[in-house]
């Protein structure tokens, strides 16, 4: 082992940085593998998109483990058992794989036969960590480099208390999960369609409203599962060549230091949707695409979708709440926004024109609008906050 003490100290520093959200767990994984002469390291914690191994970049092996073999992993099962039965005894401890799972049992398992032997997991050391459930660190090698020994166990034991504290720190700060969840929840709650795409229009996030719009049979925009392989991503596309070209231009601008812009997208049924394209703030982009700290920051574009040719007035309740209108004033305000004249409103409501004019004066006063045209502008702005794509 090379300059081990210094490497260990550096690794401990990296562990705390990752736990605080200022460093990269991948860096921790690399350091642990280097110190232990290991090929892979595993620490599965919850995060954007569900639990995943924080210590290795996503590859075929990680995908297979996350998709299926995690449930067949005998070391993970043993860790769950130990944690449930004697947490205090096991926390911070590290053991050779053969002490955790009998060699015969391991070699005869589906996990070994179908997965571990092909993915550098023949020899294992496990270190116990966890908060409410077992989240052990498993360090492994293939058959070509031979088994681990007690020296390696001691090294992992040295690191485990720090890993445990870093996990606690991560949970307290709640950076990854909560930020991610909050951002998504906020975007889902918006009354407009919202999407985040990369420079090639690969969709990184899309809220429910936008998803519904794209799935519409007449929509001018649609999402497209891309090849050549399954899992190559989903892309945003436009039905019309011309609109697709404008969309690409706006996204190119927004992802290359420009300001983006706005365009109209026409559906087959004649409905028109306004699409605003702007650079996605870096924090938002990182949150919705689930990037971990330290990952390369790619430029994304934020898309906001809103129908244009459907007049949408704020609901009366909303106006009462915002401006302190009476119920009658709110209903008059909604009717006026729909294009009706004061006379028509009076006729429809079976009241005198005088009454309506009085209500209009009150409406202008409470809304601090200078005149009816100014009030209509206010109503149009409020209309943007009304769910419209449903």
């Amino acid at each position: 082992m090379k300059d081990t003490e210094r490497d260990l100290a550096d690794c401990v520093g990296a562990i705390y940085q990752a736990g605080a959200g200022d460093g990269s767990w991948l860096d921790v994984g690399e350091r642990i593998c280097r110190i232990m002469d290991a090929r892979r390291a595993l620490l599965v914690l919850g995060g954007p998109g569900g639990p995943r191994n924080l210590l290795m970049p996503a590859d075929g092996s990680e995908t297979a483990y996350a998709g299926y073999f995690h449930a067949r992993d005998p070391y993970a099962a043993k860790a769950r058992y130990d944690f449930a039965t004697a947490r205090a005894h096991h926390l911070g401890n590290a053991k050779l794989g053969t002490e955790l799972v009998a060699e015969n049992e391991f070699l005869n398992s589906e996990f070994y036969y179908d997965f571990a032997r092909h993915h550098e997991r023949r020899h294992v050391i496990g270190g116990m960590a966890g908060l409410t459930e077992a989240t052990p660190i498993l360090v492994s090698r293939g058959d070509d480099t031979g088994a681990f020994d007690e020296t390696h166990v001691r090294l992992l034991k040295t690191l485990m208390p720090h890993v445990q504290r870093a996990i606690e720190l991560r949970a307290r700060l709640g950076r990854n999960d909560e930020t991610f969840a909050l951002t998504r929840a906020a975007l889902e709650a918006l009354p407009v369609g919202v999407g985040v795409v990369d420079a090639g229009l690969k969709i990184r996030f899309i809220n429910d409203l936008a998803r519904r719009y794209l799935a519409g049979p007449d929509a001018g925009l649609f999402s497209l599962r891309s090849g050549p392989c399954v899992g190559s991503g989903v892309y945003l596309a436009a039905m019309s060549r011309e609109e697709a070209s404008v969309l690409r231009r706006l996204v190119a601008s927004a992802t290359s230091g420009g300001t983006g812009g706005a365009m109209r997208v026409t559906s087959r049924n004649g409905a028109v949707v306004g699409l605003m394209v702007a650079p996605a703030p870096q924090g938002l982009a990182a949150d919705v695409s689930g990037m971990d700290g330290g990952a390369a920051r790619e430029a994304f574009a934020l898309l906001i979708l809103r129908p244009l040719n459907r007049k949408v007035a704020p609901q009366a309740d909303m106006l009462c709440e915002m401006f302190g209108f009476s119920r009658a004033e709110a209903e008059v305000a909604v009717a006026l926004t729909g294009g009706a004249s004061a006379e028509e409103v009076a006729r429809r409501r079976s009241v005198s024109l005088m009454t309506v004019r009085s209500q209009i004066r009150s409406i202008l006063g409470k809304s601090e609008a200078e005149n009816l045209r100014d009030f209509e502008r206010t109503m149009a702005t409020l209309g943007a906050l009304v769910p419209q794509l449903r």
């Binding site: 075929g60 995908t63 297979a64 998709g67 299926y68 179908d114 092909h118 420079a199 090639g200 229009l201 690969k202 497209l224 599962r225 891309s226 090849g227 050549p228 392989c229 399954v230 899992g231 190559s232 892309y235 945003l236 596309a237 436009a238 039905m239 019309s240 060549r241 697709a244 070209s245 969309l247 690409r248 231009r249 190119a252």
Partner: protein, 492 residues
């Protein structure tokens, strides 16, 4: 180890199992051509003939010198070995290496004092081309072709440009030859410069040269670029040349046979026809060709003449010329800002298709937004150069390997809309040998060309079709699992 002459190349091929000695006497009259054709079509080892039923001994012939091999993973072993690349290199890898060399500074040739080809010298009245074993290659050829894989050296009168090229040359009699010399070819331009001064063009024809030389002779470099310097850059060493005895030229010193003389553009004789690279033996009558007057013949003891029997793929026109054109076009496209992953002439297309593949983000890299505009640009870049001889260009995304015929045919059939996005060029210079040209097009050496758009609809942007194949249509872990358990399922 560098392969500095044809004999070293033959030894290298022998060690790779790519040489078949043919000691049985064969007839130069069609039999030898038929054997070489069969070798080319079956990927058999290159035949090395040492005895001829209808010609005295003293010479040997190497057939199919750079044809493809039938051995798995070694299809381009002869081309790769010729260029001192790993024997398992694919054609696309070879083209990539050649394209990369085009940005390196030229390494000019090194003139040496003597060469093995001067072991036997005939000049003046002693010159007799009939002493050479010149085969009749196809039933229907208009004569016996001496040059099918040699290097023609020519230099402009002011000495500023020395051109090395390959063009077929037929023996007329003991002292005269004829061949294809079109005004569009570089040799035609040099010959015209001499003819404009009222003088014949000095030439040297080096046969049986070191194996890399025919490749550079086949490369469609721009006019006024010396092939010898570019080959030096590719091979990372100067190519050795030697002064000719009767003309003011230097020829490759590695030649087994060196023929010198003067080309008279104003003197004509019947040339051709000859079975050619499109895969047909022309039925039209012979045409007039200019006359090469021979002033000297030199050769090594037991000299070896390389012979290509042109025809249906794959022979050296496809493996050598095709690879060099692919490399030049790949370089030119990239230089023009088109991010081609590769440019490749599939050998089975007999030089009539060139496939350009592009990454999905080509719009962002080029600033071109529409596939049709991209195809137009590719055509403009390609057809404006000597490399644009290929009349049909297929533009695909780079999930397709153009060297895999099964994949290419499927992609061309299923991704090419018959009407949308193609770029048509209606009147472009063309090689009259292109198979389907009408008589007026052959005479004018001009025809239409097309760039086929096989990219996804513009509306899709960077999205690509999802392929329903074992490799692409399933998650990686399923593919991996099926492969691992294949024998467990009972398959062998």
């Amino acid at each position: 180890m560098p392969l500095l002459d044809l004999r070293q190349y033959i030894e290298a091929l022998r060690n790779l199992g790519e040489i078949q000695e043919v000691a049985a006497p064969v007839s130069l009259d069609l039999e030898l051509g038929a054997i070489i054709r069969h070798c080319s079509e079956t990927g058999s080892p290159a035949p090395l003939f040492s005895a001829f039923a209808d010609h005295p001994s003293g010479f040997r012939i190497l057939g199919a010198p750079a044809a493809t091999s039938a051995r798995r993973g070694l299809a381009m072993v002869r081309a790769a070995t010729s260029l001192e690349l790993p024997p398992t290199s694919s054609g696309i890898e070879i083209a990539e290496a050649i394209a990369a060399s085009l940005d390196l500074p030229a390494i000019n040739p090194q003139i040496v004092d003597s060469a093995p080809c001067f072991e036997n010298i005939s000049t003046g009245d002693d010159v007799d081309l009939n002493r050479l074993p010149v085969p009749l290659l196809h039933d229907g050829d208009g004569g016996r072709y001496l040059n099918t894989f040699g290097c023609i050296v020519a230099r402009t009168p002011d000495g500023s440009w020395t051109n090395w090229s390959i063009a077929r040359i037929m023996v007329v009699d003991g002292k005269r030859m004829t061949g294809l010399v079109s005004p569009q070819q570089h040799i035609g331009m040099v010959a015209k410069a001499w003819a404009d001064m009222g003088k014949p063009m000095p030439f040297a024809l080096a046969l049986g040269v070191e194996p890399s030389i025919p490749f550079i002779c086949a490369m469609p470099l721009p006019a006024k670029v010396d092939e010898s310097g570019r080959l030096g850059a590719l091979m990372r060493r100067p190519i050795r040349t030697v002064r000719c005895r009767t003309v003011g030229l230097e020829a490759p010193a590695s030649a087994e046979i060196l023929i010198e003389g003067y080309l008279h553009l104003d003197e004509k004789t019947k040339e051709g026809p000859m079975g050619e690279y499109p895969g047909y033996i022309p039925t039209e009558p012979a045409r007039d060709g200019p006359v090469y007057h021979v002033s000297a013949i030199s050769h090594r003891h037991d000299a070896i003449l390389p012979v290509v029997a042109a025809g249906e793929p794959a022979e050296e026109n496809h493996t050598v010329w095709g690879t060099m054109i692919s490399a030049q076009i790949l370089h030119d496209l990239r230089a023009a800002g088109i991010p081609a992953t590769t440019a490749w002439i599939p050998q089975q297309s007999a030089m009539h298709w060139l496939v350009v593949t592009l990454p999905r983000d080509w719009r962002r890299r080029t600033g071109i937004d529409a596939a049709q505009a991209l195809c137009q640009r590719i055509g403009e870049v390609m057809f404006s150069t000597k490399a644009g001889v290929v009349p049909k260009v297929i533009v695909l995304n780079d999930d397709i390997n153009p060297d895999d015929l099964k994949e290419l045919v499927w992609a061309f059939a299923t991704r090419c809309h018959p009407l949308l996005g193609h770029a048509v060029f209606r009147d472009e210079p063309e090689d009259p040998l292109v198979a389907y040209l009408r008589t007026n097009e052959k005479t004018a050496a001009r025809t239409g060309k097309v760039v086929y758009n096989c990219l996804p609809p513009d509306e899709w942007g960077e999205a690509l079709p999802v392929r329903a194949s074992f490799r692409h249509g399933y998650p990686a872990e399923i593919v991996d699992r099926v492969k691992r358990r294949w024998s467990e399922y009972g398959f062998r």
